[in-house]
Amino acid sequence: MGKYVVKRILIGIITLFVLSSATFFLMKATPGSPISGEKFKTAEARKAAEERYNLDKPVVTQYALYLEGVAQGDLGESMVHEGRTVTYYIGNGFPVTAKLAFVAFIVAVTVGITLGTTAALSRKKWVNNVCMFIATIGVSVPSFLIAMLLVVIFGVNLKMFPFIGLATPAHYILPALALSLYPISMISRLTRSSMLEVMKQDYIILARSKGTPYKKVIIKHALKNAMLPVITYIGPMFAFLLTGSLVVETIFAIPGLGSSFVTSVMDRDYPLIMGMTIFLGILIISFNLITDIVSAMVDPRIKLK
């Protein structure tokens, strides 16, 4: 187990290197520059900025210099907003995004698993239809529409929930719903199909033959087995939620990671793009590793090698 984790971390570092290299050179190959705006109108100002940010050196040298900084824990400074470090952006944005992502994750997992299990096990056809209808809406309606509908209906018209910022717990309800609807749909679909498959297995018959009541058979014997495919989905999904969503953050005026990531790309703010990419890369790689470890804990047949 320890050996496995070390191995996966080493592989993760290699993956990060490939990711950052690809991002760096693609970013440089993309037209546009952070110093093409109003601030750098004169040739002198531009030249000074180029020197300051090493933009006058060959791209490979720039990358080497960048990696040198990263190795020392320095992700650099924004080229657009002077004096603001990349760490400052991540340090400010991530806690906000993470709190919201956590709420959305809990909602998605509990609602998704409940809906999926209910749909799979209910003998009434309409229950299954209602659950699957919700799931279909969740995957097919884009999040900006969901978010705006939530704001219009529950925020503006019914005035049930606040919808600007994240000041109180009540502020979390609408953005968390908007974020979690898609994962709810995916989780409930996965749970349903996996549950239907598990209920057909022979060990369910054996469990019933012991005189274990049906409900207990589901909770004790079926759910754990049915969760395996769901776990492989929800791990990366959580990482994805942690990267923040531009749409939801913009509509609900939340100062999270998602919006600064997208603005950094618009501005060609090279250090910020790189810093964000590496940070999100680390998140996704770690959650993949956590997913594998959790799967191995749930299913003893999985060997981590």
Partner: protein, 337 residues
């Protein structure tokens, strides 16, 4: 002796996309206390589904259509209950407690994500008012009884850490957990290799002597039942075509299907039986069963009447009955066609 299990006119159906499958048709038999009954038949003959009907473990599309199932005098047919909930509640008390089932495939019947301890203590905790520690102690004793070495350490393991034979022993131990009065063994040795088969059969026959339980052995292997069973029922096309004591079935078979099964046993020492004589054809389609003898298409001695009417049961002795037109008095006189 009185009957431990009595089945009267049991019929079980499955609704499928292609129509209704009549898996069990008007089956009646009884098992006495302390008796071992063998039910023999090929795949799809309805032998397993008969017992799944008794246990109330039919798949979702299956249902008991007619009949009574008397367990120690009490009717436990789902038809005897007002609601499904009432039936399930009653059966939850009976399953694993009064009657238990040993399943055929050790590879698929144990839950892969639960420890042996969880799975083996479950029936004990279901039916006895004991603590977890007491249940664990009982589980360890059961494991030792079915011949699993060092049960104290192995109880913490998962099914995939056990071999096929050891898993089958666990399945047997689960069935024995509450000393059931009736044990239904559904092909308990099919998935095992021959040396393990003999050990498992010894284990099962030892149970009767020890617990005085009744045992129903479902199998397609006549060799297995020969040594073990007091009485044997032969099933074909969802019906019992012949039933009798082991001696009657082996030395005085009446139904052509029973005779066919017997000639499928190879005996290298017997010159006459050196060659195998397989029964030609394949089992009937349970979707399209007519009201005539199900064996007619494969029977060497089929007559016109066989395809017209269901043969009635002919009685040969108190214990021996068979359903075949050949046994009809008219056929014996040579007047049948």
């Amino acid at each position: 002796m009185s009957a431990m299990l009595e089945i009267k006119n049991l019929s079980t159906e499955f609704s499928t996309d292609n129509g209704t499958v009549q898996a069990v048709r008007d089956v009646s038999f009884e098992v006495q206390k302390g008796e071992i009954l063998g039910i023999v038949g090929e795949s799809g003959s309805g032998k397993s589904q008969t017992m799944f009907s008794v246990m109330g473990l039919l798949a979702g599309n299956g249902r008991v259509a007619t009949g009574e199932i008397l367990l120690d005098g009490k009717n436990i047919s789902p038809l005897a209950f007002k609601s499904e909930k009432e039936y399930e509640d009653t059966m939850s008390d009976i399953r694993g407690n009064d009657m238990a089932m040993i399943f055929q495939d050790p590879m698929t019947f144990l839950n892969p994500v639960l420890t042996i301890e969880t799975q083996l203590t479950e029936p004990i905790l279901n039916h006895n008012n004991v603590s977890k520690a007491e249940a664990r102690q009982r589980a360890i004793e059961l494991m030792a009884k079915v011949g699993i070495p060092s049960p104290e350490s192995r109880i913490k393991q998962y099914p995939h850490q056990f071999s096929g034979g050891m898993r089958q022993r666990i399945i047997i131990a689960i069935a024995l957990a509450c000393n059931p009065k009736l044990i239904i063994a559904d092909e308990p040795t099919t998935a095992l290799d021959v040396t393990i088969q003999a050990q498992v059969l010894d284990l099962i026959s030892g149970l009767r002597d020890e617990l005085d339980s009744s045992i129903i052995m479902i199998t397609h292997d006549l060799g297995v039942v020969a040594s073990l069973c007091d009485r044997i029922a032969i099933m074909y096309g969802g019906k019992i075509v012949e039933i009798g004591t082991a001696d009657e079935i082996f030395y005085n078979p009446q139904h052509p299907y029973t005779k066919g099964l017997l000639s499928c046993i190879a005996n290298p020492e017997d010159k006459e039986k050196k060659e195998l004589h397989p029964i030609p054809g394949s089992p009937p389609d349970l979707l399209n069963l007519g009201d005539w003898c199900p064996f007619v298409d494969r029977c060497e001695k089929a007559m016109k009447v066989c395809k017209m009417k269901m043969p009635s049961q002919e009685v040969y002795s108190d214990t021996h009955q068979a359903s075949c037109w050949l046994s009809h008095p008219l056929a014996k006189e040579g007047k049948g066609e």
